[in-house]
C-alpha cells in the first residue's frame, strides 16, 4: 500500500508511449502521428513545438480523446496517473476532461452567445457538486485568482466585451476550476500582442507554482518555448524528431531539423554588432549541414536619394453613435507621423495592435485618404497629383499583405494575377507580360511553368512569393510590406525574408516593413520607428533603437518579447496593463510633441505624464 503510493509519487504524471494517430481521409487511413512517446513529471512543463502540420495539436487532441471517433484512430498508451486513458470508457474519460486534465486554446474559443459566468458555472457544476450560488461564488474567486479586476461584476459579461488578454485569463480561470493536475495549453498566446503575451505567460508560471500542476504547452514559437518549458519535444511531419531538456536543445540541438528550425528563429539582440539587415543561415533539414551561412546586407549611405518622405501625416476616423447617430468621437489612428526612406533602405514600423502602423501604410498607399499632412514619393507630392500622374506614381510603390490567400483571386491563374497590374498600366503587350511573369517567378524562387496554376495549389510561403512577384512587375522603388511574413511558419518566414533581402540588394528596393514582431524587425531593418497610439515615439537606426532604447514604451515592448534563449528566462517581469485605445472625444486636440535627438538620427519623443 505504502509502496504503491510511493511509486505513484515517483512515476511521471503523464506518460505517452508509442502514440499513433490516423485519420480517415476519403476512405483511406492516413497516419498523422508516428509512435510519439514522452513523459511529463509533476510540476513540469513540457513544450511541444513544431510548424503547421507537424502533429502537435493532434497529439493533445489524442491524449484528450477529442478527435471525432468515426474518422480517427488512436493507438498506443496514454498513462495518466497510472491509468491508460485510451482504454477508459468514454463516460469516465469525459469526467477527466476539464477536471484532472484541463485545456486552454486560443482566446477566441469562448462561446459568443453565453456569458463567461455561464461558462464557469457550467464547468464547475459539471465536475463538482455545487449549488448554483456556490458555483457563482467560486467563479468570482477564480477570476480573482487570475487577476481580473472587479471580478464579480464581470461575470455576466460576454466574451466580446473583454480584451484578448482578459479572455485568455478567463479561460485560464475556467481551467483552474477543478484543480487540474495537468494543463494542456494549445497555442494560447498566438494571437495576442507581445506585452499581453508576456503577462499571460507570467500568469501561467505563477499559477503553476501555486496550483502544483504540470503543463503541456503547444506552440510554434521558439521564444515562448525558451521562456516556459523544462523539457521540449520537437515535432516534424508527425514524428517526434527530438526530445530533451529545453536548455540542452537550444544549446546543442541534435536532430538536423531542430538545427534548421533554430537557425530560422530570429533572436532579439543577436544583431547588435551589424548595422544592416542580415540573411538567415540556410540549413539542410535532412543532414543539418549549413548550406549558406548568414550574411549581412548592404547599408545605403547618406547620399542615397530619398524615395519616400512622409511629413506630419494624420488620419482620423469619425465614430458615429448615440441617439441621433451624431459624431461621438474620433479614432486618432495616425497622429503627426513623419519619416523618410532612402533608396535601398528598410524602415520598419513596429507597435502593437491599434497603434496605427497598418493605417499609416494604407494611407501612404492612398487606400484611405489622409486627414492631413503630406506624402512625397520621389519628390512628388501625392495629394497634389492629377489622376494620371497619381497612377504613374502608384506604380512606383506597391503593397503586399499578410494573407496572400485573400489578396490573390482564387479563380485566376497566378500568371494572370501577376501580369494584371502590368496590363492595367499598359506597360506592354501580352507576350511581354508573359515573359516578364516567367522572369519574375524565377526571380522569387519559383518555376516559370507555375504561372498556369491556381493560388490554392501553392503553400503559404509560395503564395507570399507570388505576391512579391506581382508587386515587382511594375518595377517599384518602394514596397510596403504589411505583416507580410507574420502568418508564415518559422522556416518559411526565414526563406521569404532572405528573398526580400536579396531583392533589395539586387534591385535597390526600399521597404516600409510593418510588423509587430520585434525579432524579425531587428533582423530586416536599417531603421526602426516605434509607434504607440498613432504616434511615433522613437525612431532611429535599428542598432541605436534596439541597443539604446530611450522611450519607456520601446523598453516595455523590447522586454516583453520572448527570447529564444532559455538562459535569459525570468530576468524580466512585465507589469500588468491593457493596451490603450486611440479613441478620443470630438473636441480632443492632440498635444504638441517634442523630440530629442539622442544620437545622430535617433529621435525620441519627450515623455509626458502618461504611464507606460
Amino acid at each position: 500500500m505504502v509502496q504503491a503510493k510511493a511509486q505513484r509519487e515517483s512515476s511521471p504524471l503523464l506518460s505517452v508511449r508509442n502514440l499513433r494517430t490516423s485519420f480517415q481521409v476519403e476512405g483511406r487511413w492516413t497516419r498523422v502521428l508516428n509512435d510519439v512517446s514522452f513523459e511529463i513529471g509533476n510540476r513540469q512543463t513540457l513544450a511541444v513545438v513544431g510548424e503547421s502540420g507537424s502533429g502537435k495539436s493532434v497529439t493533445a487532441m489524442s491524449i484528450m480523446r477529442l478527435l471525432p471517433p468515426a474518422t480517427s484512430r488512436i493507438e498506443g498508451e496514454v498513462l495518466f496517473r497510472g491509468r491508460d486513458l485510451l482504454k477508459l470508457p468514454s463516460e469516465e474519460m469525459r469526467r477527466i476532461r476539464g477536471s484532472d486534465i484541463a485545456m486552454i486554446f486560443q482566446e477566441t474559443s469562448l462561446n459568443p452567445v453565453y456569458t463567461i459566468g455561464f461558462h464557469m458555472v457550467e464547468t464547475l457544476r459539471q465536475h463538482r457538486n455545487l449549488s448554483a450560488a456556490e458555483a457563482r461564488r467560486e467563479a468570482v474567486a477564480l477570476l480573482d485568482k487570475v487577476r481580473i479586476p472587479s471580478a464579480a461584476s464581470r461575470l455576466d459579461d460576454y466574451a466580446h466585451q473583454f480584451s484578448g488578454g482578459m479572455r485568455q485569463r478567463v479561460m485560464i480561470a475556467i481551467a483552474l476550476a477543478c484543480n487540474p493536475k495537468l494543463l494542456i495549453a494549445d497555442e494560447p498566446t498566438t494571437a495576442l500582442d507581445v506585452t499581453i503575451q508576456a503577462q499571460i505567460l507570467q500568469t501561467l508560471r505563477d499559477l503553476q507554482a501555486e496550483e502544483d500542476m504540470s503543463i503541456l504547452f503547444i506552440t510554434h514559437d521558439m521564444g515562448v518555448v525558451a521562456e516556459m518549458s523544462d523539457r521540449t519535444i520537437v515535432m516534424y511531419h508527425g514524428d517526434a524528431v527530438e526530445e530533451g531538456e529545453t536548455r540542452r536543445i537550444f544549446a546543442a540541438p541534435g536532430a538536423p531539423y531542430t538545427r534548421s528550425l533554430l537557425a530560422a528563429v530570429p533572436r532579439l539582440g543577436e544583431m547588435a554588432e551589424s548595422p544592416g539587415p542580415s540573411r538567415f543561415p540556410v540549413i539542410d533539414r535532412a543532414t543539418g549541414a549549413v548550406v549558406t551561412p548568414a550574411a549581412s546586407g548592404s547599408v545605403p549611405d547618406g547620399s542615397a536619394p530619398i524615395v519616400l518622405q512622409v511629413e506630419d501625416l494624420v488620419k482620423r476616423f469619425d465614430i458615429h453613435g448615440g441617439t441621433f447617430g451624431g459624431l461621438t468621437g474620433r479614432v486618432h489612428a495616425v497622429e503627426k507621423v513623419s519619416f523618410d526612406i532612402r533608396e535601398g533602405e528598410t524602415l520598419s514600423l513596429v507597435g502593437e495592435s491599434g497603434c496605427g502602423k497598418s493605417t499609416t501604410g494604407r494611407t501612404i498607399m492612398g487606400l484611405t485618404s489622409p486627414t492631413g499632412g503630406s506624402v512625397r514619393m520621389e519628390g512628388r507630392e501625392i495629394g497634389s497629383l492629377g489622376r494620371r500622374e497619381l497612377r504613374m506614381t502608384r506604380r512606383r510603390m506597391q503593397m503586399i499583405f499578410q494573407d496572400p490567400i485573400s489578396s490573390l483571386n482564387a479563380r485566376m491563374t497566378v500568371g494572370a494575377a501577376i501580369a494584371e497590374p502590368f496590363l492595367v498600366h499598359k506597360l506592354g503587350g501580352k507576350a511581354q507580360a508573359r515573359d516578364k511573369v516567367a522572369y519574375l517567378l524565377e526571380r522569387v524562387g519559383l518555376r516559370p511553368d507555375m504561372a498556369n496554376r491556381y493560388p490554392h495549389e501553392f503553400s503559404g510561403g509560395q503564395r507570399q512569393r507570388i505576391s512579391l512577384a506581382r508587386a515587382l512587375i511594375l518595377d517599384p522603388k518602394l514596397i510596403i510590406a504589411d505583416e507580410s511574413v507574420s502568418a508564415l511558419d518559422v522556416s518559411v518566414k526565414a526563406q521569404v525574408i532572405n528573398l526580400m533581402l536579396d531583392l533589395q540588394s539586387q534591385l535597390k528596393l526600399s521597404y516600409l516593413f510593418i510588423s509587430h514582431d520585434m525579432a524579425v524587425v531587428e533582423r530586416v531593418s536599417h531603421r526602426v520607428a516605434v509607434m504607440y497610439l498613432g504616434e511615433i515615439v522613437e525612431i532611429g537606426a535599428r542598432a541605436a533603437v534596439f541597443g539604446n532604447p530611450q522611450h519607456p514604451y520601446t523598453r516595455k515592448l523590447l522586454s516583453a518579447v520572448p527570447v529564444a534563449d532559455p538562459d535569459q528566462r525570468g530576468q524580466r517581469r512585465v507589469e500588468a496593463g491593457e493596451l490603450k485605445s486611440p479613441v478620443r472625444a470630438v473636441d480632443f486636440v492632440p498635444p504638441g510633441r517634442e523630440y530629442r535627438e539622442v544620437s545622430a538620427g535617433h529621435w525620441v519623443q519627450l515623455a509626458d505624464n502618461r504611464s507606460w
Binding site: 469525459r94 469526467r95 476539464g98 485545456m103 469562448l110 453565453y114 475556467i174 476616423f317 453613435g321 441617439t323
Partner: protein
Amino acid sequence: MILWLLKRLLQAVLVMVAMSIIVFVGLNVIGNPVDILISPDADQAERLRVIAELGLDQPLVWQYVGFLKAALHGDLGNSYVFNQPALQVILQRMPATLELAVIAVGFAALVGLPLGLYAGLRSESWLAKFLMAGSILGFSLPTFWIGLMLIMVFAVQLGWLPSGGRGETASLFGLQWSFLTADGWRHLLLPALNLSLFKMALIMRLTRAGVREVLPQDYIRYARARGLTERRVISLHVLKNIMIPVVTVIGIEFGSVIAFSVVTETIFAWPGMGKLIIDSINVLDRPIIVAYLLLIVVVFVWINFAVDVVYTLLDPRVRLGEKGSAR
C-alpha cells in the same frame, strides 16, 4: 431601444400609407365595382344613386383623402357586399386563419428542428440522407396537390378525418376557435399538416446546415474539452448558435401563412381570411381588400419586431438601434 421602437413604428406607418396608395390606384385601374354590384337592368338613376352612395363619384384623390380621414378614426369603410364594417368582416374570419397558422408553423418547428439536428449530427447515416432527400419533396411538391392527396387518403379512402370545414368551435375572448374542441382538432389536422410540410423541410435543412457549420467551431471543441456531457454541448452550445436563421425563417413563414394560406383554405373549405380575400377580389369589394392588406402589413411589422427582439435574446452581440459604432 425606445428610439429604435419609434423608428420601427414610423417605418410601419409609411409602409401602410404606401400600401394603401398602391392598392387604391391599382384597384381603380382594374375595374368599376358598380358594374358588378348593380344588376345589369338597373336604370341610370339607380346607378348614379349607388355610385354617389359609395362615394365613387368623387375624384380618386378625394376618395383617398376621405379614406385616410376615416381610417384615422378607425373606420376602414363598409364592405360593399356584406354591408358591414370591413374590419369587422375580416376580424370575424381571423381566428380561423390564426389558429391554422400557429398550429402549422408550430408543427413545422417541432418536427423540423429535431430532424434537422439529427441530420446535422449524424450526417453520414442513411436515415439522415433519407431525410434530406425527403425534404426536397417537401419543397417541390405543390401544396394543392398534397392537399388533394391528403383528402383522398385520409378523408375519402380511410375515412379517418373530415375533408373540410372548421368543425365544432368554442368561444374564447368572444371569438370562435376550433382548437378548443376535439372535433375542431380533427378538422384542423389535415390543413395544418398540408401547410406545414414546406416549412418543415425548410427548417430541417436550415437546422442541418447550421449544425454542420457550428460543430467544427472552437467553442464546441472547447466545451467538450471542459468535460461537458455531449447532451449539454448539443442542447446548449450548438442549439443556441443555430437559432438565428431558424427564428428568422419561422417569423417570415408565420407571416406568409397568415397572409397567403389561400390555396389550403380553399381546398379544405376553411373559412379563413384567405378565402375571404379571394372572394372580395372577385367582386372588387374595395374596402375589404384595402383593410385586409393593411392588416397584413401590421402583422408583418409585428412579426419582424418580435424576431428582432428574439435576436437580441439569442445573440448578445446584436444590439438594436445601433449602427456604425466603432469596432
